[in-house]
């Protein structure tokens, strides 16, 4: 029996929830609004109605070559995600479908590599990158982000693959399917949603990664994280442009994030909370 909920109570909760949600969202909303203001407007006190200029977006591109870091972000986050998937899918697959005695230990060990603080290996990574010419290259950043996110990708895929019933495999074998056919025709279609979710979450994580991307890049390969961080020094009079750059930097990920709420919980808790 459903509980009878009075409309009045629902209205009160609604008002409170919306109020809280708007306060939490306010900094983002205000950034978007400010990006459509002129610079003097931006520092003229609170106003939620901008004059609606697109000037800042044009300026950010003209003065700071916005497209370059944007492209770097796209290449690095997509590249590292695809490589991580290529390496992880077979690994997660084999652990989910032919688990061995050690499988659990391997999974736990992989997870433990994620616990290593980045600063702990900042010095050697910086020196290795400097000596191999990987410093400030997209290749270098792609490699680092692949490694950083690999454990999460393996884990997430593993939790998805584990839910595919093994009996289906057996049935296909009975019908005489080869291992290859089994994989292509039987398992792949069932695994695609899990792979897609993993991919989405990993792109978000790679896009926002702000330690290695800032420290191991300079003008050439800097993605948006490093680009925005470079706005930190000068004071005032540039907020509208900063807002425009920020809005562009977070918009794609914000939208992807909205679509991946469920997967986010699963991915970031390593399947511990579903």
């Amino acid at each position: 029996m459903a509980r009878a909920i009075s409309t009045r109570r629902k209205t009160v909760t609604t008002v409170v929830a919306w109020l809280v949600a708007l306060i939490i969202f306010f900094p983002i909303l205000y950034t978007i609004i400010t990006s459509f203001k002129t610079e003097p407007e931006a520092i003229a006190g609170i106003s939620l109605i901008p004059s609606g200029t697109f000037e800042n977006y044009i300026e950010v591109q003209a003065q700071r070559d916005y497209f370059r870091p944007f492209l770097n972000s796209v290449v690095i986050s997509l590249g590292s995600t695809l490589i991580a998937l290529l390496i992880s899918v077979p690994a997660a697959w084999s652990m989910a479908f032919s688990p061995a005695r050690r499988t659990k230990d391997i999974l736990m060990w992989m997870l433990s590599t994620k616990m290593m603080p980045a600063v702990g290996v900042l010095v050697p990574m910086y020196l290795i990158f400097r000596d191999t010419g990987l410093l400030d290259t997209r290749t270098g950043l792609t490699i680092v982000l692949t490694l950083v996110n690999l454990p999460i990708v393996v884990w997430m895929l593993y939790t998805y693959f584990r839910e595919i019933p093994g009996e289906i495999l057996e049935a296909a074998r009975m019908d005489g399917a080869s291992t290859l056919k089994e994989i292509v025709y039987v398992l792949t279609p069932m695994a695609v949603p899990g792979i897609a979710s993993t991919m989405l979450l990993n792109i978000i994580l790679a896009w926002n990664e702000s330690f290695w991307t800032i420290r191991l890049s300079a003008a050439n390969a800097a993605p948006l994280t490093a680009f925005i961080a470079s706005f930190s020094s000068p004071q005032g009079l540039f907020w509208a442009k900063l807002s425009a750059a920020s809005t562009l930097a977070i918009a794609p990920i914000l939208i992807m994030g909205w679509f991946s709420q469920k997967q986010l919980v699963r991915g970031l808790t390593f399947g511990a909370v579903k």
Binding site: M1, K10, T11, T13, T14, A17, W18, V20, A21, I24, P27, I28, A42, I43, G45, I87, A91, W93, K104, I106, M108, L111, M115, M116, P117, A118, V119, G120, V121, V123, P124, I128, L150, P151, T179, N208, S210, F211, R215, T225, I228, A229, F231, S232, G236, W239, L242, S246, I250, I253, L254, M256, G257, W258, L264, V265, T269, G271, A272, V273
Partner: protein, 290 residues
């Protein structure tokens, strides 16, 4: 059926991930450990020698070290308190029937998707700026003196910004856990006349215990390593007031070029993180058995 052939195929499929992670884990870490026992400064790279425990002693006797440890702990504990308590309250609120629930949820989780430099700069300039920030405007309209956040309460400012980023994460996970609570149990408790507090204390909270543990442990790992937020707002200052361990290591390595000292700090950071990690691994490992 599960022949030797499939077995070895499985191993082959697993190998690339294992080998890569093994290299990624061992090589840089071994190098950090090695450098931590060396006198090695990038400004004078020829003068390299064995240092014994000098780097550790230097790091340990540096007053900035203890300040940075204290700051690290303050950030972790402060943010955890705000996000866990706030997250529980928000999750309870969002679990109620609301008009436009989907949109409210989207608004609440959004800060989590904002990259750290953007989050920090928005707060620094548009919200907390003593002259033109929104908070200053509000203070003035109430006839109060605006607060110069980063000068007066630098560490608290960092805690607020980082909490804003992580509150959505805690809320989302706790809400997910809350929604798996058996509706019938809730109703039964209500029928038995348990009031809201008792239902929360004896039914909801125990149910959430596991999710809360996970939130605390995962956040701790990320909070120990807060970096970009400090870099773009206070740059560790004033003095060392907002320098956490991660930031101190960065300063030592890339601003003082002291490879040995920074490596010793790195080893300390790894040890600290591992203590936390052990607890996390246990919590996650238990779930694997199911």
């Amino acid at each position: 059926m599960a022949t030797r052939q499939t077995r070895s195929l499985a191993r082959l499929m697993l190998a690339p991930s294992v080998v890569l992670l093994l290299i990624w884990m061992i090589v840089p870490l071994a190098m950090t450990l090695w450098y931590s026992f060396q006198n090695y400064n990038l400004l004078n790279p020829v003068m390299r020698s064995f240092a014994g425990f000098d780097n550790y002693r230097y790091f340990y006797t540096d007053p900035a070290f203890f300040e940075s440890i204290a700051n690290t702990l303050a950030i972790v504990v402060g943010v955890l308190l705000i996000t866990v308590i706030g997250g529980i309250l928000l999750a309870l609120l969002l679990d109620q029937p609301i008009f436009g629930q989907g949109i409210v949820r989207i608004l609440v989780i959004s800060p989590f998707f904002v990259m750290p430099p953007v989050a920090a700069l928005i707060w620094k300039n548009m919200i907390m700026h003593p002259g033109y920030g929104v908070l200053a405007d509000v203070a003035r309209s109430l006839g109060l003196q605006p607060v110069d956040w980063f000068a007066q309460y630098p560490l608290l400012s960092i805690v607020i910004i980082v909490s804003w980023q992580w509150l959505p994460f805690a809320t989302l996970i706790l809400l997910t856990a809350l929604q798996s609570l058996d509706e019938e149990q809730k109703e039964a408790a209500e029928m038995d006349g348990a009031n809201f507090f008792n239902r929360f204390r004896y039914l909801t909270l125990p149910h959430l215990a596991r999710a809360i543990t996970v939130v605390i442990l995962i956040q701790t790992i990320f909070l120990l390593a807060v970096y970009a937020e400090i870099l773009v707002t206070t740059n560790g200052g004033p003095g060392y007031a907002t320098t956490n361990l991660a930031f101190l290591i960065y300063r030592t390595a890339l601003l003082s070029y002291d490879i040995g000292g920074a490596s010793a700090g790195g080893v300390i950071a790894v040890v600290l993180a591992n203590i936390v990690a052990i607890f996390l691994m246990r919590a996650v490992g238990r779930n694997l058995e199911r």
